[in-house]
């Protein structure tokens, strides 16, 4: 397990991030620092702006204002103004994006092994045996039976597809993972297993992650820090356990008290 608390440089520095949809606010004035090994949760209900924020951070949407500085080879680089080829390359190497619906993040007509190996081949891997071995390794790491490496994701259950998506993203050892409702749409028992896996991988690989979810149980389990969003603004931020156990803002208090306890 890596102890990255000794790093002296933030991995991501976000300032003033703003996105409008006409006169509507998608998100406004969002800023935070993310350090190596930290997991940031972004919670809010529908329409809070959390997905807009995630897409602006990950380079899927162009923000109207603001900076997203990523530590690229020791140099804080603004990914908002980066060239598209550079951003696409970043998306294949240092960054990863786990979609809520696995089908959006996988090639459904390519085998599991091909899906996992694609990123390797995209960065120049040219030895079939090695590629297959890496793919095999990762498939078992995400607890997919090894003999399914040649099956297509169309033959997988929802939970397995999601785990495959994670393997596909992590194979190139990214430093930052964006996740959009990673457990959305999955059965509860499947969710637990997936969260557990994610938590283990994040710890093991020293990943930083930004996770958007409406599910407070997910952030309690996965996130070190938390931002609560409402109507496009961050209304509260802090340590996850502090924000959930001692919420200060009215909306956060409402959110926390609304969660049904089993």
């Amino acid at each position: 397990m890596k102890d990255l608390s000794v790093q002296d440089r933030p991995l991501l520095q976000v300032a003033g991030l703003t996105k409008y949809y006409g006169s509507r606010i998608g998100c406004e004035g969002v800023g935070f620092d993310l350090w190596p090994g930290e997991v940031m949760g972004i919670v809010g209900e529908s329409g809070s702006g959390k997905t807009t924020l995630l897409n602006c951070l990950a380079g899927h949407l162009a923000p109207d204002e603001g900076r997203v500085l990523f530590d690229l080879d020791g140099v804080p680089t603004d990914t908002v103004t980066m060239s598209e080829p550079a951003r696409r390359k970043l998306g294949r190497t240092d960054w990863a994006f786990v979609h809520q619906h696995a089908a959006d993040g996988l090639r459904m007509n390519v085998s599991a092994g091909g899906n996992v190996g694609e990123r390797l081949m995209a960065v120049g891997a040219r030895h079939y045996g090695n590629i297959r071995e890496s793919a095999q390794d990762w498939i078992t790491r995400v607890e997919i039976p090894a003999d399914r490496i040649d099956d297509r994701p169309t033959a997988f259950s929802g939970g397995m597809r999601q785990r495959l998506q994670i393997a596909r993203n992590l194979v190139t050892g990214p430093r930052l993972v964006f996740m959009d409702e990673p457990t959305g749409g999955l059965d509860v028992s499947v969710q637990a297993r997936l969260l557990d896996l994610l938590r283990g991988l994040v710890r093991e690989m020293g990943l930083s992650a930004i996770i958007v979810t409406h599910d407070l149980a997910v952030v309690r389990l996965l996130a070190d820090r938390l931002m609560v969003m409402k109507d496009g603004h961050v209304v509260e931020t802090g340590l996850t356990d502090q924000v959930l156990d001692d919420p200060q803002h009215a909306y956060t208090q409402l959110l926390v008290s609304s969660v049904l306890q089993v």
Partner: protein
């Protein structure tokens, strides 16, 4: 007051806390004012006071789980009240341990890994971490056949002992203990008391809540009555 406040591991000054319930008519509930005390390395201080007086609240504030309204909470050189989340996380990993009353774990992680985690997080090699975890679990009478199982299905007493094992796996310089001997039989209670004494002996500063009077008098050098910090009684 004991030994020079300059050498204190834990130092609390002028601490206050208020709860504001925005969704219930914006009720403001002041629960603490002018709390102050310190704990030196090797000292054990007990928080006393009747139920609801604020013992757990104070402990959670020291851990950074509750926010303070004012004042300072120093753990070593870091003031929790003004520290960044990142600094608090680092503190919790390396310096400040917390054994709550309830075991909260990730669903499928085996007991051995639960206990070894604080060691792994601070850079202990996997083999040594597991060995230390095994020793602790054995000491606390958790049978070996349970080590590979998740503690979520254990009895209350077993869970509490796993909780304690996790809290004592890594040698934290500062330790917060909330009812560590609750739901334990005589033999395990004795083991836990010994663990706490060993922690004291290696210089840990300990704040504890003990309903068990005998434990309190055996372990604690001082008592701090939190009722003195109630706002309606603050001087």
């Amino acid at each position: 007051m004991s030994g020079g406040r300059e050498q204190a591991m834990i130092r609390i000054d002028n601490l206050s806390k208020t709860f504001t319930l925005h969704n219930q008519g914006s009720t403001v509930i002041p629960v603490m004012a002018n709390a102050a005390f310190s704990v030196a390395p090797g000292e054990c201080v007990a928080l006393t006071g009747e139920s609801g007086a604020g013992k757990s609240t104070l402990m959670r504030m020291i851990y950074g789980n509750y926010l303070a309204a004012g004042g300072s909470i120093r753990i070593g050189d870091t003031d929790i009240v003004t520290a960044t989340p990142r600094e608090i996380l680092r503190l919790r990993r390396h310096t400040l341990g917390y054994v709550s009353q309830f075991l909260r774990v990730v669903p499928r992680v085996p007991t051995l890994d639960v206990v070894a985690e604080p060691l792994l997080a601070t850079g202990t090699p996997a083999g040594a971490a597991r060995a230390a975890a095994e020793a602790l679990l054995a000491r606390l009478n958790i049978p070996e056949r349970l080590w590979s199982l998740s503690p979520t299905t254990f009895s209350g007493g077993e869970q509490q002992r796993v909780n304690i094992a996790r809290g004592f796996a890594y040698a934290y310089p500062a330790l917060l203990l909330d009812e560590p001997t609750a739901s334990l039989d005589a033999q395990n209670r004795e083991t836990v008391l010994r663990l706490i004494e060993e922690a004291k002996a290696r210089g840990a500063a300990i704040v504890g809540i003990f309903h068990d009077e005998a434990a309190r008098s055996r372990l604690c050098d001082r008592e701090v009555d939190v009722t003195a910090f109630r706002p309606d009684r603050a001087a």
